[in-house]
Symmetry: C2
Subunit: 339 residues, 2 copies
DNA sequence: TTGTACGCGTTATCAT
DNA sequence: ATGATAACGCGTACAA
C-alpha cells in the first residue's frame, strides 16, 4: 500500500507507461490510443485518483480563486449579493474567498495585499465607506487582475461596475411623498463619502426642487453607520425640530425602522402624522407594523451579474479591453408606513 | 527588465549567491552571515519580492485555507458567526473560504468534495437541515482534516463541537411565560431534523411538564423554513384554534415576527391577548413594535471559539486526540412582546 | 502514439 | 556559512 494520495506517477508505474501519457490520457489529449486512455481512466477511477490542484496552481500561476471584498455581511444587503455571486461562481472552476473590510480602509488595504499574495485571479469589490483612494485596486489591475466594482462606486477608477440607480430610487420615493401631500420632508442620509449616500441625497434634493419645495438644511441629517442604533440620535434630532417634518426618507430600512421607533416614542402616528420610507426592502420590512414603504434593489441579480462579468474577463483575456457599466433600476414599494 | 514577478532566483543571480542561501536569509536561518542576510533583505525589499505561496502550497501539501460551510448567510445568525470566525482567522496565516449549502444535503456534499480537492486544511461546519448522514465529514477527518461543528449538532459524529444550550434557552423562555400567567402556550417549532429544533422543543415540553401543564399537540406546529414567510401559515393554524393560545414560543425571531404579524391581523393585542417570545435576538427585534422578547445567543463568541479550536488543531497536530465540546448558555431577553 | 526532460518557486538535505 | 541537488505533482515541447 502506498502512503499519501495517488498521483499520475502511481498510475504510470502500475500501467508501465510514462506519467506524461497518463496526464494526456486523463486530459483527453487527441493523440492517445483509445485503449490506453481507457486503461488509464479505469485505473484512475479504481484508485480514486484526485488531481493535485496545488501543483496545477503553481504550474499555471493562478489560484483559481476569486476574492470578494465587502464591508460587512451582518446586514441583508451584502449577504444577498454574495449569495448571487456564489450561485454563479459555483458552476465555474473558481472558488470564492469572501473578505470583510469592516468599513475600514486599512483593513481593505490589508485584504488586497493578502489576495494579491495568494495570486487571486479576480476581485469583486464594494469599497469601505472610508475608502477615498483606489490605488490599491489599480495595483491589482496593473498586475493583470480584473476588478469588478459593485453597489458602491469608486469614482475615478476605471473598472467594470455594477451599480444601482440610487438617484432614481430616491427621486421616486421623495416624489411619491410629495404626491401624497407631504410638505416637509426630511432625509436621514447615509454615512458621508459614499456614492450611494451622495446619489440618494441628490435624488432627494432634485425631487424637492422639481416640485418647488425649498430645501431646509435642518431636515438633512447624516447617520454615522448603517445599523438601527445609528439612526436613533439623528431621528430624534429631526423629530425635535420646531417645525417637525411630515415625512422622512431614510438612507436604508434599518435607519427607517429607527425613525419609526423614535416617532412612536414621540407619540406620532405612522403614517397619519408622519410618512416614512426606507431603502433596501429587507425581508422583515414587510412584517413590521406598520409595514415599511421602501425602495427595492435587485440585490441577487447584482451579485449574479457582477460575477458573470468577472468570469467573462477570466475566460477571454481580451474582454478586458472595455469596461462595462451596468446600472440596475430600483423599484419603489409602497406599504403602510407612508400615506 | 524581467518579465513576471521576481523570485528568489532573481535575487540570487543579482547577488551571485545560491537560491537556497537567499531562501535561508529571507527566513532568518541562524547559520547565515548577517552581511549577506542584510544584502538579501535589502534587495528583496528593493525589488518588491513577494514569496510565491502557490509554490509553498505544493511543497507543504497544504492550501493554508480553511473552509466554512454554512446553510445560508442572508439571515443575521450565520453572518454574525462568520464575522466572529473571520476576526480570529484574519490574524493567522490562514484564509477562509465560505461555502453556502443552501440547506441542501446534495450541495453540502459537492462543497465537501470541492474543499477536499483543493486540499483544504480544516473545516468549520454547520450542517444543512437536510443532512442526516455525516460520512462526508468523516471522510474529511480520515484524510487528516480537522472538522469543527458549530451551532447545529451532528449526532453521532465525533468532532469538536461548539453549541448553544438550546434546551436551556427554550426552557427559560417557556418558564417565563408560565410565570407571567400564560396557561396555553403554543410552540412554533423549527424545521424537522435539526438538533436545534429538537432541543428547543424538548425545553418547551419539559417546562410545561415541570409546571404540570398538559401538552396540547395542536399547540405544536413546525415551520418549513427559517424566514418570515415560513411562519405565516403555521401562525394562522395556531391562532385559528378553538382554544386560542395565550402565548407563543417561536423557533426564531423571524417566525416570531410572523406570528406577531398574524396575531395583529387577527385583532389580538400583544402582549395583552397573547405573549410572543422568539429566539436569536436579531438586531431589529429590539426596534419593532412591540419590541420582541427573545433568547439571545452569543453568536460572535461562538464563531470566535470555533475558529480558535480549529486553529489549535492546525498548530498542534497532537491536539487532535481529544474532541472538545463547548456549550454556550443563551440568555432570555424580556422586552415588550411578553407580559 | 508515446517517452524524455524540463520547469513552475520554494525549502530541506546533504555536501563543502 | 553557503552551494548543489532533489523534491512537491503536473503539463508540455521536443524527441523518438
Amino acid at each position: 500500500m502506498k502512503k499519501g494520495r495517488v498521483t499520475i506517477k502511481d498510475i504510470a508505474r502500475e500501467l508501465n507507461i510514462a506519467p506524461s501519457t497518463v496526464s494526456r490520457a486523463l486530459n483527453d489529449h487527441p493523440a492517445i490510443k483509445k485503449e490506453t486512455k481507457d486503461a488509464v481512466k479505469a485505473l484512475a477511477e479504481a484508485l480514486d485518483y484526485q488531481p493535485n490542484l496545488l501543483a496545477l496552481n503553481l504550474l499555471q500561476k493562478k489560484s483559481n480563486t476569486i476574492g470578494v471584498i465587502v464591508p460587512e455581511i451582518t446586514g441583508h444587503f451584502f449577504s444577498a449579493i454574495i449569495t448571487g455571486i456564489q450561485d454563479v461562481i459555483v458552476d465555474s472552476e473558481y472558488n470564492i474567498m469572501i473578505c470583510l473590510s469592516n468599513e475600514s480602509y486599512e483593513e481593505e488595504l490589508t485584504i488586497v495585499k493578502r489576495l494579491s499574495k495568494i495570486q487571486i485571479d479576480g476581485v469583486l469589490v464594494s469599497p469601505s465607506s472610508e475608502t477615498k483612494n483606489f490605488d490599491h485596486f489599480r495595483r491589482l489591475q496593473k498586475s493583470g487582475i480584473p476588478v469588478v466594482v459593485f453597489d458602491r462606486d469608486c469614482p475615478g477608477l476605471e473598472a467594470d461596475k455594477v451599480l444601482v440607480d440610487d438617484y432614481f430610487g430616491a427621486f421616486q420615493a421623495v416624489e411619491y411623498l410629495i404626491g401624497t401631500g407631504c410638505k416637509n420632508i426630511a432625509h436621514l442620509g447615509g454615512p458621508l463619502n459614499l456614492s450611494t449616500t451622495d446619489h440618494r441625497l441628490q435624488g432627494y434634493l432634485d425631487a424637492l426642487e422639481k416640485n418647488n419645495i425649498e430645501v431646509n438644511k435642518e431636515y438633512i441629517v447624516h447617520v454615522p453607520g448603517f445599523n438601527h442604533k445609528d439612526g436613533i440620535k439623528p431621528s430624534k434630532k429631526i423629530l425635535e425640530l420646531k417645525k417637525r417634518p411630515d415625512a422622512i426618507f431614510a438612507y436604508n430600512d434599518n435607519i427607517a425602522i429607527s425613525a419609526m421607533h423614535v416617532a412612536k416614542k414621540f407619540g406620532l402616528k405612522i403614517p397619519e402624522d408622519i410618512s416614512i420610507i426606507g431603502f433596501d426592502d429587507e425581508p422583515h420590512s414587510n412584517f413590521i407594523t406598520p409595514s415599511l414603504s421602501t425602495v427595492w434593489q435587485p440585490v441577487y441579480s447584482m451579485g449574479m451579474l457582477s460575477a458573470r462579468i468577472l468570469l467573462s474577463h477570466l475566460n477571454d483575456k481580451n474582454t478586458a479591453l472595455k469596461f462595462r457599466r451596468e446600472v440596475f433600476k430600483p423599484e419603489l414599494v409602497i406599504r403602510a408606513s407612508s400615506r
